[in-house]
Every structure is written in structure tokens, then in C-alpha cells.
Amino acid sequence: MSYPTDRKYTREHEWIQVNGNSAAVGITDYAQQSLGDIVFVEAPKVGAELTAGKTFGTVESVKAVSDLFAPASGTVTEVNGELATSPEKVNSDAHGSWMVKITLKNPSELDALLSAADYEKYVAEEAGH
């Protein structure tokens, strides 16, 4: 399991990688491992508004349906169309498989998110239960 330090994390197992005023959002390696074989990614359309902490899409494995939670508020500028046809990419490279890119509405929201080290600790605790 890897925890790249170039991004921040939610307790619902999304990551967000900020680049200026824009940010990419995906799910973590831990999330893909917990879900198993991913067969379906449903992301919002370009122009959709995301609200921090609210659901913005769905990811499904053979066995499970899981909501995607927005790490931060913003407007969708790009959707990773490749995941509609090859959702299994999320399994092989979760941290490289961004689902949407957004323009951040309120970058200070990021302060509430977990660092890589804190997220790793959080996962260890959750997995231990």
C-alpha cells in the first residue's frame, strides 16, 4: 500500500492533488483494495458543482457500491473518460487514476483534510478493527 505525500486525503478514502487553483480527485490504494475488482465509475459531468463532504459519484466493484465524497468544493472542469471504459485502471493504479478535476472554490477547505502520514495512521487503525 502506498501513501503519496504530494496530496491530501479524506476519511472516506479519497485523495486530492492540488495544482494551483485546480485539483484532481481519486480514490486511494487502500480504497481500491477494500473494494476489490472495480467495474464501474460514475462521475459527474463537466460543469457540475461539488460540495466538500457531499457525494459526487459512485464507484462499484463486483461486490460493492461505494459513494465518492468530495474532498473540497469546486466546479468540475474535466472527467477522466478512460475510467468509463476501463474502470479496472483504478485497481492497477489508484493514485494515477484521477476521476475528476475541479477548480477549487475555497482552498482553505484543504486544511481540514489528512496528510499522507495521518491518513496512513487512520487506515492502520481502521484495518485493525
Binding site: 476489490g36 467495474v39 464501474f40 459512485t58 466493484s61 463486483v62 461486490k63 457500491v65
Partner: protein, 380 residues
């Protein structure tokens, strides 16, 4: 003396082995069971599913229960509590059947094995073990027949797939080519004498289920011997995830989903396993009446025609968006590479080709009634 409480989550004798192998564990009907094995062992639901369709996979199904009926009137007892006709069974033969309530709905579905002249073994579901045993015991008291709960005596391992017979043949002296589908034999397996082997399963594939003593040492030894012997066939350990997708492709019912205490035999479409011409069995009269009154709903196969995956419990809508039924089991089908489901719909909408919708997150998503089973294994 204080009452001993049953542990809240039960474990099979192979629990430690599954954990050592790194299986992802889930609670299923009160049992701590592997849902899938790690990719490093060839696992993951899709891989496990494909291994069973194209090669061989093995499952720990020790959570299944076993009830033995033995004695002078064992056949009469079995006939009274089950809907299929056990009088047709030769010694060594098995049949799919069900235990019914007087109203013609399901206590459980079972496989009835005739092991001897007056000896029958019912293999039952994990979630209904106690209920089934009590039901069988309470409803066979009038017969000269002993009823024993052997559920904890066996570790049951399913070896499934087109290569299952080749794999198991390496480990036994019994001639498996002589064992037809839904027949059982006994032989030495991994040095264990007189081991019961049934050519049965829950995957819509050829395969065997073997019953070995349930102590941890023997169970682990046999499990590992099978994995070693299966290397040349690419054997993969399989969890409940693949077990579910495999049985769904084959339209094999799951208790609490396609069959339950509120669904009757006709609705579930299990007519061919119900011998209404049998003089008497629990549920028979109600079923006869139900047939006369007309069947209102039917279990159908659906294939999604638009992007979306139907899941257990989702609503089924007609093309006008009216709620008309519900999904009993829905999933991506790894071998067929389609999103499929079983659903109850009104009888008038059961015809193959009928366009319907499944409500997924508030949206009607297109589906069509298709022939079932979705998957049928190729005839040799």
C-alpha cells in the same frame, strides 16, 4: 449451570488457513468467511470466477449444514418434508429439493443424498442451519427414523470447474469418471479412508464437494494437498464473492433472495423439482391451491441494456417508470461480461424480450428480460 452462549461469529476449521492466505474476510449469515483471496494467489472475484469457468477453483463451504436421517422409515420421513421425489433416488444418488412450509413457501432449499438403503443426508444452507434442523426433527417425529445434526462434523470443500475431476482424481483411488453428475461415491482422499465425494456444486460447473473430518489439522492438510495437486491445472482458492457470481450466472437460487418464507415454489420457477404428484408432503396442498388460483409473479432474468449495475433489492420499473417488482440478486457477470440480475416481476411481464427498467440511485436504467440460466456449461 449457566447457559453457554453461542459465539456471535462462527468460524470454519479452515478459518486460520484463509487468514494466513491473506483472504479478505466478511461476515456471511453469522460466519466469518473469505470473500476473495489476494491477487498474489491468483485471487480477486473476477479471477476466481474465471478460474472456475475455465479451469478449477476450490471453496471452503463448511458453513453449509448437514442433517442425516437414518432408520426404517427414513424415506417416508424425507418424502414428508421435501418437495422432490426421494423414492426415485438409487443408493449413491442425489437430488435438488426443498423443505417447505405448509403454505408452500421455503424453509430452505437442500440437496438430498441417498447414502444407504435407509440413510439420507440433507445438505442445507449456513444461515438456516438451526431452523432447518429443528424443522426436520419436529416434523419427522412420527417416523421410525433418527435425525442427526452432523453440521459440525465435516469440513466441506467444493472443487469446481472443468478441471475439477482431473484434480480430485490425483488425490483419490475412487474412479471419478464413473460418478455421474448428482451422484456420490466414497473412497480414500489424501489418505483419508471412506471419504464422501459428491459430484455436486453451486457454480453451474462440473465439480465435486468432499466431506472430510472437521478438525483443523485434517482440514488444513486436505485444503493444502488440493492446492498442491491443482498447481498443474492453475487451481485458485475462491471465496464467497465468486461463489455468488457463479451461482447467479447459473440462476441457482440463494435463500433469502430468490427463495424465502414469502415466496412459493411456482413463483420461484422451481416446478421441475417439485413432485406435486407425490401423495403427500408439507406444502403440497397449498401449492395445488396456489396453482389453481393463478401465479401472479415470476422470477425472471434481466440484462442491463444501459450503463448501470442492478443490485439486490433495487426496484424494477416498467417502461413508464411504475414500480412493478424488485431485484433479488444483481451483479456484473464476470464470465458473460454483462450486468445481470434476477428479479420478481408480474407474470404478464415475464416474456423474454420485455423491456423494463431498474431504478439505480433514483434513475430508471434500461434492462430487458432474457432467457435463463444466463450461463449453461458446454456439454462434453
Amino acid at each position: 449451570m449457566s447457559a453457554v452462549e453461542a459465539p456471535t461469529v462462527r468460524k470454519t476449521a479452515l478459518n486460520v488457513v484463509h487468514r494466513q492466505m491473506g483472504a479478505k474476510m466478511v461476515e456471511f449469515n453469522g460466519w466469518d468467511m473469505p470473500v476473495e483471496y489476494p491477487a498474489s494467489l491468483g485471487g480477486g472475484i473476477i479471477n476466481e470466477h474465471m478460474a472456475v469457468r475455465t479451469g478449477v477453483g476450490i471453496f471452503d463451504v463448511s458453513h453449509m449444514g448437514d442433517i442425516r436421517l437414518a432408520g426404517r422409515q427414513a424415506l417416508a420421513a424425507v418424502q414428508h418434508i421435501s418437495m422432490n421425489d426421494a423414492s426415485r433416488l438409487a443408493i449413491g444418488q442425489a437430488q435438488y429439493s426443498a423443505l417447505l412450509y405448509p403454505q408452500g413457501t421455503f424453509v430452505d432449499d437442500v440437496i438430498v443424498h441417498r447414502l444407504g438403503e435407509d440413510e439420507y443426508l440433507l445438505v442445507i444452507n449456513a444461515g438456516t442451519r438451526e431452523k432447518d434442523f429443528n424443522w426436520v426433527r419436529d416434523n419427522t417425529r412420527q417416523f421410525d427414523c433418527a435425525v442427526d445434526n452432523l453440521s459440525d462434523d465435516f469440513t466441506q470443500i467444493a472443487i469446481q470447474g472443468p478441471k475439477a475431476v482431473d484434480l480430485l482424481q490425483k488425490l483419490t483411488d475412487a474412479d471419478l469418471s464413473a460418478v455421474k453428475f448428482y451422484w456420490v461415491t466414497r473412497g480414500t482422499v489424501c489418505g483419508l479412508k471412506n471419504t464422501l465425494m459428491g459430484r455436486t456444486g453451486y457454480t453451474a460447473e462440473d465439480g465435486f464437494e468432499i466431506y472430510v473430518p472437521s478438525d483443523e489439522g485434517t482440514s488444513a492438510f486436505v485444503w493444502n494437498e488440493i492446492l498442491i495437486a491443482g498447481k498443474e491445472f492453475g487451481v485458485v482458492p475462491c471465496g464467497l464473492g465468486a461463489r455468488n457470481t457463479l451461482r447467479l450466472e447459473g440462476k441457482l437460487p440463494l435463500y433469502g433472495h430468490e427463495i424465502s418464507d414469502t415466496i412459493n415454489v411456482w413463483e420461484a420457477g422451481l416446478d421441475r423439482f417439485c413432485k406435486i404428484e407425490k401423495q403427500e408432503f408439507i406444502g403440497r396442498d397449498a401449492l395445488e391451491k396456489a396453482k389453481g388460483a393463478g401465479i401472479k409473479r415470476a422470477l425472471v432474468g434481466l440484462e442491463m441494456t444501459e450503463r448501470g449495475i442492478a443490485r439486490d433489492g433495487y426496484k424494477v420499473l416498467d417502461t413508464a417508470g411504475r414500480e412493478i417488482g424488485y431485484v433479488t440478486s444483481g451483479s456484473p457477470a464476470p464470465y458473460l461480461k454483462k450486468n445481470i440480475a434476477l428479479a420478481y416481476v408480474p407474470k404478464e411481464l415475464e416474456a423474454v424480450g420485455t423491456p423494463l427498467q431498474v431504478e439505480i440511485r433514483g434513475q430508471g436504467v434500461g434492462a430487458v428480460v432474457v432467457p435463463t440460466p444466463f450461463y449453461k456449461r458446454p456439454k462434453k
